[in-house]
């Protein structure tokens, strides 16, 4: 359709030829005719160009005009550097925060797993909400039942976590977290090896040779991707295993382990308890949906089979526990813990973006009011609405583009921080990378902001008389503009208030946690993991080893006291002895009808444990070295047991007995005489409660593995000598994770700390932007009302009054904003409460403090413009228009 260059030339040439020929026919000289024709035609190039321009698509013209406008915008923005910088930085904060959080959300919640057909993978969990057991895991008989009854799941994979003392593969002997899996696990999970092979059905059973697969992270990080690792032998506790392969990089679930071994490597897995006890639960269960089955149909079948199982074996499922089962897609299961927190973060980032945009809108609006004169002149000269909008769009594009670029630069480090944070909730966040999504999100947000901003200022109406504006070229504020500015400023305050109150709530929680009394001597006590070579074997040699360690460490210089125990406070929370505790009976205590048996935590401690950790003994005595195997079974109970289950709290010399069905395999339960009562301490939760705890002597139970050392000086100074002393006794003995109780508590609390930190960050940014916004609005309003203030001063108003007027305007904006924010925040909480389980409103104090912070910020922000209003020179002000 569109003619090309040659065709246009041909047409012009044809025109010339005809023109020349006609002139010659009229009798002109050929040369003169040619010149005359050329002269008559005029500028050939220009004509040709305008012919071609006819055919150019419309958008090219618009783009050219926009490019021109962009250059104009760059020039005019250079004159208002301060404003431009504020806008760009504000937008960059908004865009950067959003882009960073969105890329983490995408990586954690939206990206598919590497597993083959990952949407057919399900995770099956057993839980007992009534006794607070979120994940009971499964026992081998239960899994066998499923395998024989379920048809909608084509194969089951099982995974249990075991701690091994590992020797081999370089480095010191140390404890590793290992997965122990059946032969079907890797096939069900749909994972491939990067080196060697994975475990399969031939690795099952008690007679297969020990075999282990290394995880990709362990292989690359600790072994420098050594390709010769396949075929090497490692010692895992008492057994050995050959490394058969390396797993591809995959989300480590349910546990981030270093190696995954077959069942033969774990003596425990081959024991009768594991294989036959329905209540010996330690295995996580996965399944691959059979062809044609859906998650719903599998859930229905599994739930029915589980209910039948509970009917057939009532002894293994306490009715009080209300044992249930959940079935989720593996991907959702992995993302679940991070979901709420990430969505909340996304919302917070969204709020920051709104604040940033409304602040920028304010600045731009103020600027465009100052430009009303210029725009009116352009409109009068015939610029259409489109052209004027384009001018504004060009300017906001320049600003938003710059903001986006800076935001992208900001997003990079932000992503690293947010990912590290999210990794506490979901392992998937470990491999979040900066990718092009961020760029798209940033560009999209910038475009949205630019278009929005271009439509904020009102254009001079072509119908309204623009005479005054044109004539003076000065600033003229219409009530409409002022109202709009105020609405934006109020919105910023409202959003900031919501964020501030949220951050305040988290900070209050954190402060409460940090200042809580733990009941332990947290400063001076060091905890070590010194695991026994074989866990659970009652062996005199092991006990003597700990006895000797205690004696030799106690003799070290700088060591005050030393004791062994089974649980490091907080760090071992949720471990094998953690959870809801075990059922027991107290002598003379009658349960009321329908009341569940009391449950208590079981802890093994050596003599001196309470002294070392600073837990006072309120009645009776501590354990001694004579409380050992063969002597009378004894125990020490926590104060809450004494008070709740014994008359007058008088527990000493009464008996308690473990009655939990878990222990039924170890024979008839033995009553243990209570020899002492100690103060309540909570070693599971950082929010100290008064848990029922029963302590038993290590020398009667044969289970320890943790060493507690109280020091006189710097606790960490004794770490090398303790390690040396232990190694002298047993060269292969791992000595690990030395840390003071204070540091352990801080480590456990770090999610709360980071929560509070991240939210405070958002709130801080929001507050900063809001302060700039309020200050900007008032400064603008003051400078536009110079004349009014001049008159007021001239007729005798005191400068002090003007100062107060402007300040009260600022406080007014803040107050309305806070009320709006409180209302909006309350509505939001109500909405969020429908979506998420644990939504709470901030306390009154937090709300009041946040409001006070905002009002103070508003006063500070209004002070500068107010001061300027009160210093206005009367004469100049009156002459200003």
């Amino acid at each position: 359709m569109s003619p090309d260059q040659d065709e246009l030339d041909d047409e012009i040439r044809g025109h010339m030829a005809i023109s020349i020929k006609q002139r010659i026919e009229r009798g002109e000289d050929p040369e003169a005719a040619r010149l005359a024709a050329l002269k008559e035609f005029g500028n050939v190039t220009l004509t040709r160009d305008s012919m071609r321009a006819v055919w150019r698509p419309h958008w090219i013209e618009n783009a050219e005009a926009l490019w021109h406008d962009v250059r104009v915008a760059l020039r005019s923005l250079r004159r208002v550097k301060g404003l431009a910088a504020t806008v760009v930085v504000t937008l960059a904060l908004g865009i950067g925060a959003n882009a960073a959080i969105f890329s983490v959300v995408r990586a954690v919640l939206l990206r598919p797993l590497v597993n083959r057909d990952e949407d057919r993978l399900i995770y099956i969990r057993q839980l007992a909400p009534a006794i607070g057991a979120e994940n009971m895991t499964w026992s081998v008989p239960e899994i066998d039942d499923f395998k024989s009854r379920i048809t909608s799941v084509s194969a089951f994979g099982d995974f249990s976590t075991v701690d091994f003392a590992m020797v081999g593969l370089g480095g010191e002997p140390r404890m590793v977290k290992a997965g122990v899996v059946g032969g079907s696990f890797f096939d069900v999970m749909g994972l491939r090896p990067v080196l060697g092979r994975l475990l399969n059905a031939r690795d099952d059973g008690p007679h297969a040779p020990g075999a282990a697969v290394l995880t990709y992270r362990f292989w690359t990080k600790s072994l420098n991707s050594d390709p010769s690792v396949v075929g090497k032998t490692v010692r895992l506790g008492p057994r050995t295993a050959t490394v058969v392969g390396v797993l591809e990089p995959a989300v480590p679930y349910p546990a981030d382990t270093e190696i995954i071994a077959n069942v033969v490597t774990s003596p425990h897995h081959l024991g009768a308890t594991m294989v036959t006890s329905r209540v010996h639960r330690m295995t996580e269960l996965f399944g691959r949906l059979a062809p044609g089955a859906s998650v719903e149909s599998a859930r229905a079948e599994l739930t029915a089979a589980h209910a039948a199982m509970i009917r057939e074996h009532p002894e293994a499922y306490s009715p009080k526990a209300n044992v249930q089962l959940t079935v989720t897609k593996l991907r959702d299961q992995i993302a679940a813990p991070a979901r709420t927190i990430l969505l909340v973060l996304l919302a917070a980032a969204g709020v920051v973006f709104i604040i940033a945009c409304s602040n920028v809108a304010n600045l731009i609006l103020a600027r465009s009011v100052r430009r009303e004169g210029e725009l009116a002149v352009r409109a009068a000269l015939g610029a259409g609405t489109g052209a004027l909008r384009r001018t504004l769009l060009a300017e906001s594009l320049v600003l938003c583009g710059a903001g986006a670029v800076l935001g992208m630069l900001l997003a990079r480090p932000l992503i690293a921080i947010v990912a590290q944070y999210a990794a506490r909730f979901s392992v998937r966040a470990l491999d979040v990378s900066v990718d092009t999504t961020v760029l798209w999100v940033g560009a999209g947000l910038a475009m949205a902001a630019a278009v929005l901003l271009a439509y904020v200022p009102r254009l001079p109406s072509p119908h309204a008389p623009a005479g005054l504006g044109l004539a003076t070229g000065g600033v003229r504020i219409t009530p409409g503009t002022n109202r709009r500015l105020r609405v934006f400023a109020t919105m910023q305050i409202a959003c900031s208030f919501v964020l501030l109150a949220g951050a305040g709530m988290l900070l209050a929680t954190l402060v409460a946690l940090q200042s809580a009394k733990t009941g332990f001597n947290v400063r001076q006590v060091l905890a070590f993991d010194i695991p026994a070579p074989v866990i659970g074997v009652d062996d005199g040699k092991v006990l003597n080893f700990y006895q000797e360690v205690t004696r030799r460490v106690g003799a070290l210089p700088g060591v005050d006291a030393v004791a062994v125990g089974s649980n490091v406070p907080w760090r071992d929370a949720g471990g094998p002895l953690g959870g809801g505790g075990f059922q027991f009976a107290a002598e003379g205590y009658q349960q009321a009808d329908g009341e569940a048996s009391p449950r208590a935590r079981m802890r093994m401690v050596g003599s001196g444990f309470f002294d070392v950790l600073g837990v006072p003994i309120v009645a009776g005595r501590d354990f001694t070295d004579d409380d050992r195997g063969g002597r009378e079974p004894v125990s020490i109970v926590s104060q809450s047991i004494a008070q709740r289950l014994f008359p007058n709290g008088d527990a000493v010399n009464r008996h308690i007995t473990w009655t939990d069905p878990v222990f039924s395999l170890y024979g008839k339960p033995i009553p243990r005489r209570v020899v002492g009562v100690v103060a309540d301490v909570d070693d599971e939760s950082v929010v100290p409660g008064a848990p029922l705890t029963i302590y038993q002597p290590v020398r009667q139970m044969g289970l320890a593995g943790r060493l507690f050392v109280r020091t006189a000086g710097d606790p960490y100074a004794v770490v090398p000598s303790v390690t040396r002393v232990v190694r002298e006794l047993s060269a292969d003995q791992p000595v690990e994770r030395a840390a003071t109780l204070e540091d352990i508590r801080a480590e456990v609390m770090s999610p709360e700390r980071v929560n509070a930190f991240v939210f405070s960050g958002f709130a801080g940014i929001a507050l900063l932007i809001a302060v700039v916004g309020v200050a900007g609005v008032l400064a603008f309003s003051v400078s536009a009302r110079t004349r009014e203030f001049g008159i007021r001063l001239a007729v005798g108003s005191a400068p002090r009054h003007l100062l107060g007027r402007v300040l009260s305007e600022g406080v007014g904006i803040a107050t309305i904003g806070i009320v709006a924010g409180a209302a909006g925040g309350y509505a939001l909480t109500f909405l969020a409460g429908r979506l998420f389980a644990h939504v709470q409103l901030p306390g009154a104090l937090t709300v009041i403090v946040s409001a006070a912070v905002l009002i103070t910020a508003a006063v500070v922000a209004s002070f500068m413009p107010a001061a300027r209003a009160s210093r206005i020179d009367v004469l100049q002000a009156l002459r200003s228009e």
Partner: protein, 119 residues
């Protein structure tokens, strides 16, 4: 054909060139040079169309579908592009003619008010 001195020539009113082109082509297909000459001749040399305006206008009308262009041989035996009025072009010409006569009437009333309206 008395030539008018250059300073007595009239500037084309904005927007009228398209109408003149359409009108000229009502008698049959013509090439650019011919159209220019026809307008000049029909107006007794009062209107002179600059080629710099004529050709872009022709292309604009083709793009809008009011004209159709095809190569042919001129009476002077030259290869030239001939423009022909399309059905849509004819309709447009009628519209423009109506608009034009309304405009002329209106302007005429203002410039030469009827004696009745005089006080």
């Amino acid at each position: 054909m008395a030539k008018q001195p250059a300073d007595q020539r009239l500037e084309l009113l904005q927007g009228t060139l398209d109408m003149l082109i359409l009108r000229t082509l009502q008698w049959g297909p013509q090439h650019g040079h011919g159209i220019g000459q026809a307008i000049r001749a029909q107006s007794d040399d009062l209107l002179k169309v600059e080629t710099g305006s004529l050709y872009p206008a022709l292309h604009r009308l083709v793009k809008r579908g009011w004209l159709k262009a095809e190569w042919g041989i001129s009476e002077a035996n030259q290869r030239a592009k001939f423009y022909r009025l399309t059905a849509a072009g004819k309709a447009q010409l009628l519209r423009e003619r109506d608009r034009w006569s309304q405009l002329v009437t209106a302007i005429g009333r203002i410039m030469n008010p009827a004696p009745a309206s005089k006080e």
